[in-house]
């Protein structure tokens, strides 16, 4: 049993403390925008924000996330107003299959909070998510566009 604060809502989840946050979010809370890709923090599909920082939720036990502010892709927009990263993604038509994009968007949103006008080198260092469709060219364009927004 753990109490989690997800997208501003406080929730009880009935899982063992070692359960990865990813699976508590997907299977207990029912928010499936956060994806399972590898389970070992390699691909970044499961990226969420914990207290504003991007983390790979597949390797964070629920016990480590209790009491902190967790934001998932579903909580990024404010009502129907898209976050500037989502807006840039829409304008630049970034997603192909889209499976990795929630994690990619969450990673970029955190990067921009830290570095509002990232250089290409800072993007290279900060964004290490895997995208098998290969959307990187549009991802980079959209990051720069979001930074200007």
């Amino acid at each position: 049993m753990a109490r989690l604060t997800i997208n501003g809502r406080s929730l009880e989840v009935n899982v063992s403390p070692s359960t990865p946050l990813l699976w508590a979010i997907r299977e207990q809370v029912g928010l499936t925008g956060t994806k399972y890709g590898c389970g070992i923090a390699q691909c970044g599909s499961c990226t969420v924000h914990i207290d504003g920082a991007a983390v790979r939720s597949c390797v964070v036990p629920v016990s480590a996330a209790a009491g902190k502010q967790i934001t998932t892709i579903e909580g990024l927009a404010v009502g129907s107003v898209l976050h500037k990263v989502q807006k840039a993604w829409l304008d630049h038509e970034v997603p192909q299959c889209g499976y990795c994009q929630a994690g990619m968007i969450m990673a970029v949103a955190a990067l921009l909070k830290d570095k509002p006008k990232p250089t290409d080198a800072e993007i290279d260092a900060g964004i290490t998510n895997i995208c098998r469709c290969g959307t990187f060219q549009q991802v980079r364009e959209a990051i720069h566009a979001a930074a200007k927004a």
Partner: protein
């Protein structure tokens, strides 16, 4: 009943699918006499491709699968072009395979592979739009009691030209649906296209930005349980024994079941509980006859084929043996390409619900009909008692097109708990160990020159695996697998772009126990490396510029030459490159498109490659949505360069050694080159887009590496040579 649409929200999705499971039969009114076929919600089908709702919403049916490549939008553009509807009112839905079978395959082929989505259905989907437009206009003319020839349609509005009267598609759709569809409605001349050729926005972007898009792994059904599975890690092995009692008491565990004779699944309330229990479950495998096979034994088998007497011939002219025997100079090289896993971001999954008289499957698939066939076979039920609901895959790349092993497994699990829906999701590890791998291939090439350094002969001997002999043996041609020769054929959609006076291209088929599959680009990936790198070797051996050397062999292949010239011109071939930057070229005909690339790289420390830019040209005949073609080109290079630098599945003790992205890497944004696309559709034919360009990435980079270092690399991946992509 069409219940799954790409834009449907999760709540209505569940309600919709549950309603189908509630026994409402197929939910479709199959027309007899003048009855109208209705989609869910009651809106009439004008043709089977087009449903129009009273509010003027146009629902376009898409039989192919959208897995990121944009085919959903492209196919909708094709229908809408002829329909003359308001593009802003277009939405799409997948017909189900069960409905298609019940209606004599009215939607044609569902298979979404071979870059065929648009090119092999373009004519009949445009016809579907044109027929519907004709019927809508006729219905309006009938209501107005005027000749249809006095009416025209644009943006979903029908106008009676003499009187100026107007109506909308939504108002006449009901009457139009009752009309007998006309046949052979003429299609527009391409010069009159307004929507085809335009970079309209994709129809499926928004839900992918907000977490709303439901993938197979995300599916929820009432009362659903979750399954995790382990199949024998040695291909061809079986389960000897397992001990359910050891895990039955673990949290959430409901069932521990055998799946066929080679796998075991744990079924639990949540997937994490199922996976946790499966990890704790003792399983003893009977590893079978392949437990000693290794990459080395496979390589030995292929090596033998390089000089074997028997081989299937695909392309032959002149007398290559005589040309080589009489050569003033002879060049020889051996190349090799490894097993590779597709590794789509969404691991394999399927959800099944079985009862004695109905079996339903929800699955991300590239081929709804393939999933349907697997459902029938595994359930043992006839077609009218089965249904498959397609879900957009989180990547496919060929893994989800010819193989539905995960569907078979899901049904076999669900059969053991009738009435309960079960979602089977593979771990990444299971996905890596049970792929349908890019086939292994070796190639020995021999080139012959006369005293004037003219290329007089070329022999390419392929040795390795046949996909078709494993997947569709009935498609072999007297034992020969024609797909092995992609890019090397004398003619057709994979024609070689060179004329050599004495030529022989043949294949010694050497199959392995590792199951092969169609990996994005398929066999042209290795053939492009073999041919285009070896041509580079020959050019250098003859002391000639690689572009000029190629051009001399291409005079009878103007479309191949045009794309090659285009990249050479744009990249500035023959002009000085930036300091320490070196260029390499490649061209192929691939999936009926002509493609070429010029890569610009620099090499530091002898082994760190930076790919600065790739100029890529494609002539796909007609370019339906140029913005999406650009994205496919850039994306295909991510797949191709990941394959070139990083990806190999090695075999030890009969099983694949790589289990996750830490041992099977994939490109990141830092490694992404700038990709400049030249889209140069020359018209008159339809070429593919999703796969063709992938094959030129690797040889262009390898040829640039030779230009930079004088070192020729002939085996993939480059990590085995200590070379990294930076």
């Amino acid at each position: 009943m069409i219940t799954i649409t790409p834009k449907i929200d999760r709540r209505s999705f569940i309600i919709g699918t549950a309603a189908v499971g509630g026994g409402l039969a197929l939910g479709l009114n199959i027309p007899f006499g003048g009855r109208v076929v209705r989609a869910q919600g009651g809106a009439p089908e004008v043709t089977h491709w087009v449903v129009i709702r009273p509010d003027d919403t146009v629902v376009i049916r898409i039989a192919r699968s959208e897995m990121g490549q944009g085919t959903l939008t492209g196919l909708a553009q094709m229908v809408a072009e002829e329909l003359e509807c308001d593009w802003s009112k277009v939405t799409t839905e997948y017909p189900t395979p069960g409905q298609s079978v019940a209606r004599k395959r009215i939607w044609g082929d569902f298979s979404t592979g071979g870059s065929r989505g648009i090119r092999s259905s373009q004519e009949y989907v445009r016809q579907g739009g044109a027929t519907a437009r004709t019927m809508l206009i006729q219905a309006a003319a009938d209501a107005w009691k005027v000749p249809a020839s006095e009416c025209s349609a644009a943006d979903s509005v029908i106008t009676h030209r003499p009187s100026g009267r107007t109506t909308t598609y939504g108002k006449v759709a009901e009457a139009a649906a009752k009309l007998t569809p006309p046949t052979n409605v003429p299609l527009k001349d391409p010069k009159d296209w307004k929507l085809i050729g335009k970079s309209v926005k994709r129809l499926d972007t928004m839900d992918k930005l907000t977490g709303t898009q439901v993938y197979g792994a995300d599916l929820k059904l009432p009362g659903m349980l979750n399954a995790a599975i382990k199949d024998c890690p040695v291909f061809g092995g079986k389960v000897k024994s397992f001990e359910p009692a050891k895990v039955k008491g673990m949290p959430g565990v409901r069932h521990v079941v055998p799946v066929g004779d080679s796998a075991v699944a744990v079924v639990a309330d949540t997937w994490w509980e199922a996976k946790t229990a499966l990890d704790a479950l003792p399983i003893v495998w009977d590893e079978g006859p392949n437990a000693k096979v290794s990459s080395a034994t496979i390589a030995e088998m292929l090596k033998e084929g390089l000089s074997a007497d028997q081989a299937f011939v695909a392309n032959q002219n002149g007398d290559v043996k005589a040309a080589i025997a009489g050569a003033a100079k002879k060049i020889e090289a051996v190349y090799a390409y490894p097993f590779q896993n597709h590794a789509p971001m969404e691991p394999m999954n399927a959800t099944a619900r079985y009862t004695a008289d109905r079996c339903e499957v929800w699955v991300p698939t590239q081929n709804g009909e393939g999933a349907f066939a697997a459902t029938l076979a595994a359930s043992g039920l006839p077609a009218d008692k089965c249904e498959v609901y397609k879900i957009h895959p989180g990547g496919g790349f060929g893994r989800r097109v010819a193989h539905h092993d995960y569907v078979t497994q899901a049904v076999l699990i669900a059969k053991q708990m009738p009435g309960t829906p079960v979602k089977l999701l593979w771990t990444r590890e299971e996905d890596m160990l049970h792929g349908k791998y890019h086939p292994v291939m070796q190639c020995k090439l021999v080139g012959a020159f006369d005293a004037a350094n003219n290329l007089t002969g070329l022999h390419m001997r392929l040795s390795g695996q046949s996909i078709l002999s494993d997947v569709r043996p009935e498609a072999l041609q007297q034992g020969k697998d024609p797909l092995v020769f992609q890019g090397l054929n004398p003619s057709g959609e994979f024609a070689i772009g060179y004329s050599v006076p004495n030529l022989l291209i043949d294949h010694a088929m050497r199959n392995t126990h590792v199951p092969p599959g169609f990996w994005r680009g398929v066999n042209i990936n290795q053939n492009a490396i073999f041919l285009e790198c070896f041509l580079d070797e020959l050019a250098h051996a003859a002391g000639q510029d690689p572009l000029e050397f190629r051009r001399k062999l291409m005079s009878k292949h103007p479309k191949h030459l045009a794309v090659l010239n285009a990249v050479a011109d744009r990249a500035g071939w023959g002009k000085p490159a930036p300091q320490r930057v070196f260029r390499g070229l490649a061209q192929m005909m691939s999936f009926n498109s002509y493609v070429a690339a010029c890569a610009e790289i620099s090499v530091s420390g002898g082994n760190k490659i930076k790919v600065h830019r790739i100029v890529a040209a494609t002539d796909c005949g007609y370019a339906v949505n140029p913005a999406q073609i650009e994205r496919q080109i850039a994306g295909s290079f991510v797949y191709g360069l990941s394959g070139l630098f990083m990806e190999e599945c090695t075999v030890k003790d009969g099983r694949i050694e790589q289990t996750n992205f830490n041992s099977y890497d994939s490109m990141r944004i830092a490694q992404m080159p700038k990709v400049e696309s030249i889209i140069m559709p020359s018209g008159g034919f339809w070429g593919g887009v999703g796969e063709p360009t992938i094959c030129v990435a690797a040889p262009a980079v390898l040829n640039a590496f030779f230009a930079a270092t004088g070192k020729r690399i002939r085996t993939v991946p480059l990590k085995n040579h200590g070379i990294t992509l930076v």
